[in-house]
């Protein structure tokens, strides 16, 4: 992951999701998983304001080996995570990305089919399919918020699957935790760079 290494050792991540899709949950569980993976400094924050179901939203995360003292929104991300590919056309997901940065997209398409330009490493994963396979369905919709962390682990190597599973177990209980972990494992396996 050389391209992601920064002089000051901090990784900046921006999430693109829709209201109700769970991007804020993704960011929170990532922070926990990253902490469990050895990052001493982690932050995750929503973009503050009214969230409406279906409306595009963003969230920010930072990972580092020292305490993080920056609380502004991430505008020059090393990593962008897109919770469904329909957001690519509406959310300007690649804006501000650092050269050589990684964009992780939940999609059934291949990286080249997405048509993303620039000095980017495009990683795809059918996270929705993973959630469906794990029967992680809430109110008729496959939930991708935790499953995407499997893709994140596979794409970046910054967090371990053990830590993802521990963080999910901390955030969810009982059968819900198991389904979320299964989904994350399947997403990990079907991630393609």
């Amino acid at each position: 992951m050389d391209t992601l290494t920064r002089e000051h050792g901090m990784y900046e991540i921006r999430w693109h999701g829709r209201g109700g899709q769970g991007a804020v949950t993704s960011a929170k569980v990532l922070a926990d998983a990253a902490f469990r993976s050895g990052f001493e400094g982690v932050t995750s924050q929503p973009s503050f304001g009214a969230e409406r179901r279906g409306a595009p939203i963003t969230a920010s995360s930072r990972l580092a080996h020292e305490s993080i003292r920056i609380l502004s929104q991430v505008t020059t991300p090393d990593i962008v995570v897109v919770l469904d590919d329909s957001l690519l056309s509406v959310a300007n997901a690649t804006t501000g990305m650092r050269p050589g940065g990684t964009i992780i997209v939940n999609t059934v398409k291949t990286a080249s089919e997405l048509g993303l330009d620039g000095d980017l490493r495009v990683v795809t994963s059918d996270v929705t399919g993973a959630a469906e396979a794990a029967e992680l369905i809430v109110a008729g919709q496959p939930m991708v918020s935790t499953a995407i962390l499997g893709a994140f682990a596979a794409a970046t190597g910054l967090i371990t699957m053990d830590s993802v599973e521990a963080a999910i177990s901390h955030a969810f209980h009982g059968p819900a935790a198991k389904k979320n972990i299964d989904a994350a494992r399947i997403a990990f396996e079907c991630t393609r760079a």
């Binding site: 209201g19 109700g20 009214a50 409406r52 179901r53 279906g54 409306a55 109110a139 008729g140």
Partner: protein
């Protein structure tokens, strides 16, 4: 008679591309409310879901004059707007409409509302009751029904909701009505009638909320109708102290058709998930008792007592 759908005005003051959640009941009703007033109105709105629907600066989503005000102050702001319009000779130009949610009406706003009602201020107050503080993330309000789980009643609310229309009726105001966003023509008719009355007119509107109640947005209208079919929500009006059931509630009472069991309604929403049979039975008993009282009033049984409460004829 209820206005037929095809006879409702085509003119629309609620603009597409607004910020409300998909399937929000407020939008359905607001289209008819603004149409009934033909846009010749000024709305005043406290911090609430409706504020968000109304749009963020510098673009508005509703094509009528609109004044945002602090949470507890809706009825007082409407009083001030009405007084200001009278004082500047513009009272005839527009109807003043105060529109707030259940918390803004029955909890934090009840003092200002009661004061305005006692003074019989000249405006329409419409409460869109989505049964919790939805704009802040579904915390319980005084109008949240028993059994509903909210983010401040994790095990389900224990208390029945307070009956704001009855409280308003006790103020002796000229018009009190109960309606539902699932019945746009009923909303239109009641606002139209209220428009022609002077003094404080209060309309209470049940307003299904997909995200707060936990149902698929497609079911907003279906569940709003189902609530009326159970008797949990009752459509009626009290005009000059005279009570009558209206629309679907009137036909329900007239035909004597059995009401849908409350349990069938509760089962449609995740907020009621896990309710114990005893709790459901208690809600059913509460609904039955209320329904019998409404039917009796409709038949004129208790009318006499309540008619005496009106005191504005003294002014």
């Amino acid at each position: 008679m209820t206005t037929k759908i095809l006879d409702l005005p085509v003119a629309s003051y609620v603009l597409p591309g607004n910020r409300s959640c998909a399937g929000c009941g407020i939008g359905i009703a607001l289209r008819q409310i603004t149409a009934a007033l033909e846009g010749r109105m000024v709305m005043t709105v406290p911090a609430s879901c409706l504020t968000v629907l109304g749009g963020m600066f510098p673009i508005a989503s509703v094509n009528v004059p609109w004044v945002n005000v602090a949470f507890p102050s809706t009825a007082a702001a409407a009083s001030g707007i009405a007084a200001g319009l009278r004082a500047t000779g513009r009272a005839g130009e527009m109807t003043v409409l105060a529109m707030a949610g259940d918390g803004g009406t029955g909890d934090i706003g009840i003092q200002a509302l009661s004061g305005a009602a006692e003074r019989n201020e000249d405006f329409i107050y419409l409460c869109y009751d989505n049964e919790a503080y939805m704009n802040t993330g579904t915390q319980r309000s005084g109008l949240t029904p028993a059994g509903a789980r909210t983010t401040t009643t994790w095990a389900g609310k224990r208390e029945n909701p307070k009956d704001i229309p009855r409280i308003m009726e006790a103020h002796g105001i000229p018009y009190v009505a109960s309606t539902s966003a699932a019945f746009p023509a009923d909303v239109y008719d009641k606002v139209s009638k209220a428009r022609g009355i002077t003094g404080l007119r209060y309309i209470h509107m049940n307003t299904p909320c997909p995200s707060g109640w936990g149902f698929d947005p497609k079911d907003t209208v279906r569940l709003g109708k189902l609530a009326v079919d159970t008797g949990l929500v009752v459509l009626y009006e009290v005009e000059g102290g005279v009570f009558r059931l209206t629309g679907r509630s009137a036909s329900l009472a007239k035909t004597g058709k059995p009401r849908v069991p409350v349990a069938d309604y509760l089962a449609t929403q995740t907020r009621f998930r896990g309710m114990k049979p005893e709790a459901i039975a208690a809600v059913q008993a509460w609904v039955d008792e209320r329904w019998e009282r409404f039917v009796a009033r409709d038949a004129g049984v208790c009318d006499q007592d309540l008619r005496g409460a009106g005191h504005h004829q003294l002014r």
